[in-house]
């Protein structure tokens, strides 16, 4: 009988914090600067430079720890992790090994079997590395240290996950918590959230864990799911063939759907950590924890509860809208202006989701402003434009956040409310379509739909369908 295997997964998640400056110097963390224009002696590792800790980094790390039920380490400090690699200019990374800022937390995830807890072993603060670019001309590597020293937190889970679905639920949960806290935008594709997967397999019922491997370079949920499936099969094949799994770091190649070992055995992984003498210890008092707790914004579960009480919109809408902090922000800001929660929710749930899917975008990428959405809702409410025109305007607004009021004026999209003009057009349509008029009079109600359509066409879409309908009936029945 074939043996059955269980997959055991733990994650190391790196999150780039949303600070304005780097963790140990006053250089900007802004994206997109020319190479090395966001650097100084500290983040390029010049001898004699002195790192000084950014207080906001500690507060973001505490906020994430508190929101994930961790204990905050009152006395914590930084250590040097020593290794040679040119993206790391000091030849050590400043990190936390012995006294990480947060420990022993958990988050709840929803699985098919119900709610499940994933333990968080620790969260520590550390600095990011620079970027290496290979130069074909000289066969050398070029280094850009703009990202060197950007603050990261690393969230280390317990090996509590058993499937790709659980891993993705855990990541989604973390992402939402951190986005709601404003501690990071958590974009996998852009690298502001990165997950390394530690995976081992064991026979179902076994007590001991198998030997694990660590997989890197996973920059989408799909890549993570595929890498988990691939690594599980690779390890099972080894065990079935009577071979051993080697503890190693592997790099996932999503295009080839395969992984390969990143470091050879000769490269010792001996980081010789020791306390960083340049940085003073951090003492976190009860008062400081309370202060950070007091500033903690409304998290998703609280927001969902409040929406249920305040707005008359379906639970499903609430779940989707609060599923993205950015979308929830737009919803609330827009409702604050127009006081039409159901209408705002409809625009988000129908047209916005449709366009996001069509353009393969995330809700975080929504660019239109709540002010403009409120204006668009106002235009339809006041029947300045009809719903078909509103959808067209919305598409333009979705792409370039145009002001719908100005756009409608510029493009001449106002509904024609001139009854004389409408009456004239309808009379022409009636005259041109005697068969449909005949059908209508013989009790075929559907015929009126055709006549409304013809009228709308003649009016170039700029008529209010309800008025057209009413006037048509009036003229046909007269």
């Amino acid at each position: 009988m074939a043996r059955e295997y269980e997959t055991v997964i733990g994650l190391e998640v790196h999150v780039e914090l949303a600070t304005k400056t780097k963790i140990f110097c006053g250089c900007t963390t802004a994206f997109g600067g020319a190479p090395n224009t966001h650097t100084c002696p500290v983040c390029t590792g010049m001898p004699g430079s002195l790192p000084v800790l950014n207080k906001q980094v500690v507060e973001y790390a505490m906020a994430v720890g508190l929101a994930t039920n961790c204990n905050i380490t009152r006395h914590c400090k930084f250590d040097r992790k020593n290794y040679f690699y040119p993206d790391n200019p000091q030849n050590y990374q400043i990190s936390q090994l012995y006294l990480p800022i947060c420990r022993d937390g958990y988050v709840e995830i929803e699985t098919e079997e119900g709610s499940k807890r994933v333990g968080i072993h620790e969260i520590h603060m550390e600095e990011d590395a620079g970027k290496l670019i290979h130069d074909e001309d000289t066969n050398c590597s070029l280094v850009d240290y703009n990202r060197s020293g950007v603050p990261l937190i690393e969230i280390v889970s317990e090996p509590d996950m058993r499937s790709a679905e659980e891993v993705i639920a855990y990541l989604e949960k973390l992402r939402l918590i951190i986005q709601y806290l404003g501690a990071s935008d958590c974009k996998l594709q852009e690298g502001s959230m990165r997950a390394d997967v530690n995976l081992s397999v064991r026979e179902v019922g076994a007590k001991e864990y198998g030997t694990r491997t660590e997989m890197k370079n996973l920059n989408s949920f799909r890549a993570i799911a595929r890498a988990i499936a691939g690594e599980r099969s690779r390890q099972i094949a080894l065990l079935e063939a009577g071979e051993a799994v080697i503890q190693e770091t592997r790099r996932w190649d999503d295009a080839k759907e395969t992984s390969y070992a990143m470091r050879s055995k000769e490269d010792a992984q001996d980081y010789r950590y020791f306390p960083d003498p340049d940085l003073t210890p951090v003492y976190i008092s009860d008062a400081w924890i309370e202060e950070v707790k007091g500033r903690q914004p409304e998290l998703r579960t609280e927001k969902m509860k409040r929406y249920k009480e305040e707005f008359d919109i379906p639970d499903y809408d609430i779940e989707i809208i609060t599923g993205s902090k950015h979308m929830a922000d737009i919803f609330e800001a827009c409702v604050a202006i127009c006081n039409q929660p159901k209408k705002v929710s409809n625009w988000l749930m129908v047209e916005t989701l449709r366009l996001l899917k069509e353009k393969e975008m995330d809700p975080e990428d929504i660019r239109f402003s709540p002010e403009n959405l409120a204006k668009l809702i106002g235009l339809t409410e006041q029947k300045v434009i009809n719903s078909t025109v509103a959808k067209e305007v919305f598409e333009v607004m979705f792409d370039s956040d145009v002001d719908p009021e100005k756009y409608v004026e510029e493009k001449g999209l106002r509904t024609v409310n001139d009854e004389g003009a409408l009456r004239k057009t309808i009379e022409e349509v009636i005259a041109a379509n005697p068969q449909s008029v005949e059908d209508y009079k013989n009790g075929k109600d559907k015929a009126i739909g055709f006549l409304v359509g013809q009228t709308m066409k003649a009016m170039k879409g700029k008529a209010d369908p309800a008025s057209v309908n009413a006037l048509l009936k009036e003229l046909l029945n007269s």
Partner: protein
């Protein structure tokens, strides 16, 4: 000398420190390292019962910066210390990811 450093250890430390040592240098390094460890061992003789673990040399804590950008673009100065420069970047030996 209580601590004897063997060849395997000194070779391993050499790899970690990226140092290529000649045979004579290795012998000297073995002796130096043994003496250093002997010196460290002396600390173990101290009675530390009831002494709070020390995490830093100075009794200072919570030295912070506010999250405010204070540095501008000083790339030219930074690159002055580079082993080589190209397109505003540091040139280093080819490194495979």
């Amino acid at each position: 000398m209580a601590n004897i450093i063997d060849d395997a250890t000194i070779d391993y430390v050499g790899i970690l420190a990226k140092l290529a040592l000649s045979d004579e240098e290795k012998e000297q390094a073995k002796k130096d390292m043994g003496r250093m460890l002997d010196y460290i061992d002396k600390l173990g003789e101290l009675d530390t019962e009831g002494v709070e673990p020390m995490t830093h040399l100075f009794p200072v804590q919570n030295v912070f910066r506010e999250d405010v950008v204070t540095n501008g673009d000083d790339r030219d100065s930074m690159l002055k210390n580079a082993p080589g420069e190209k397109n505003g970047m540091f040139v280093v030996p080819k490194t495979i990811g």
